[in-house]
Symmetry: C2
Subunit: 357 residues, 2 copies
Amino acid sequence: MQNSAPKMANPRKLERFVSTALQGAGVPLGDADLTASILIDADLRGIDSHGVMNLYGTYVKKLLTGGINNKPNLKVAFGSPTTASLDGDNGLGFVASHKAMTACIEMAKQHGTGWATVYHSNHSGAGAFYVLMAARQNMIGIHWSTGGSTVAGPGGKRRLIGNNVFAIAAPGKKQGPFVLDMAATMAIANKIQMRQWEGKRLPEGWAVDSNGQPITDPATYFATEGAILPLGSTASYGVHKGFGLLLVTDILTGLLSGDGGSMLRRKGEESQAFCALRIDAFPTGGDFTGLMDAMIERIHAEPTVEGAGSMRYPGERGNLTYVERSAHGIPLRPNVVEDLRRMSAELGLSMDDIWQK
Amino acid sequence: MQNSAPKMANPRKLERFVSTALQGAGVPLGDADLTASILIDADLRGIDSHGVMNLYGTYVKKLLTGGINNKPNLKVAFGSPTTASLDGDNGLGFVASHKAMTACIEMAKQHGTGWATVYHSNHSGAGAFYVLMAARQNMIGIHWSTGGSTVAGPGGKRRLIGNNVFAIAAPGKKQGPFVLDMAATMAIANKIQMRQWEGKRLPEGWAVDSNGQPITDPATYFATEGAILPLGSTASYGVHKGFGLLLVTDILTGLLSGDGGSMLRRKGEESQAFCALRIDAFPTGGDFTGLMDAMIERIHAEPTVEGAGSMRYPGERGNLTYVERSAHGIPLRPNVVEDLRRMSAELGLSMDDIWQK
């Protein structure tokens, strides 16, 4: 069963199903539709670890038990023409993050740039979605988000800091968009979970057990409350740089919003930061999209060593997967289908109508 | 000689010597003093690779031969209340970068945030200096800079992209300041040079020769025009993340300034970007420095595995080294002293008066 082929879901039908499930958990129609569209966008881009895989466990269960507030009162407070903070009121992170990036885009339209922090919020899925909102407006979108506190510091023995995210998108003309959406770590917990499902071991250097000793068995990670390592993994490979980047996310999200970040959480699960830069507000940035095309074409033309495959730009795989899955459907692993079935039983929904014909 | 002890220079005397040398190369007094203070600051913070080690080869020689314009006409153009671009006119990067961050701080004072790009400029030393300018004003300072094009892409065979820099600083109350100043690569060329001087090999994964094959001999790196690898080094260690971060610097500096970045340089050697965020412009960011202290104290309290040493925050070593070297002097390696002597002979200067008593 673990290795049987994934079933193909129809993107639009799956999106409707997701919205219906969220409404079943008490989320108002508009917020449910928005959240569904962001989750499906992650699956379409191939970011399976941030799509419907998490619908039941990370969102619906918590909405049903009150762990996430299904009717939050989102308040945006402005501190200057280009800065704002948003109290997420412990609601769905998607809705708060979307509102914050929208505010950044509005500020950038008027004043060149816009920044917003979000606090007292929850997991808001893949950062790619929010930064692409800006890229579609001929802006550069930047985003930082805390992640689950599953990561050790350099030489550390245990979980200390969040699996924190940095994402950025920028438009091209014929190429792109450029989308970097990364945790500054060796892996995220969902990827370790997927390795376990696939019966694979972890590469050395990804994780340690609760005594700080290296592990390669995914089961050990979960059984011992192991910790993931920052990007770089070891001292000679630059683990202090990965750790530094994780701290930057905590500073820009948690410290700047007053929440404290992934190490000092005061309120709610997650905090985020957003930034939009209007490209034509930079006096000499007029040929930006042309330069982006040239940069990407330069990368594509670069020779690589045997076996390495051709060089890609960040977001390229996601852009291609988006087109392919929009046409042919979203593959759902058996474990995910099973999880959605359990959710459907609890909510009294049918999954019969979500599949690709 | 290579391994003999470094000589100790007096920081203030060395700074005056550096300014005099720059004036000897035709740099006006104010620009020479500013550049000297930034170079000495790097040495005081222990960033030897970005201090007076580079004075002759990277700056003075080029100033004397016209490779760097010693009397640039720096122009700042504003495109909105919070965005600017600065034409560096092929002058010393230090002066242009200082002017750009000053503009960001002014914009942030008035409008909350400020961004500036610099193009047609040159190497501007350690990013730490510029971001600390903002931190001293109760702002977060952020900086990106292209570096020399010495880095291969993932699976690449040769030099493709710059050894690009990201730096950020933020103030604490009793702790800090936090200063992350990093290239998103395994090493910089000056560090490979220092390994060669010390007779040490490179850790595996730092660099490849001109056929993309791994090397550990520093001499091979220079003899074959080898390439440094992005942070992550290999596919399973996340080299695509390091490469993505290098591209982000090219986008925010080179694409946004119209110069093209490290892969498409159109004018001048280097381009930079600067950002300042006024902390009290974020409505809920009032306790920022208190939270910074708490974050740092949390890091210091974290247990580590045997042999790893205690956990530090980014900038901690530099902050401590600054105090120590301010009191006891800046150690200059024999190779650096020899290089400065050659420069002094060319400029008719004496080095007798730079040493610590």
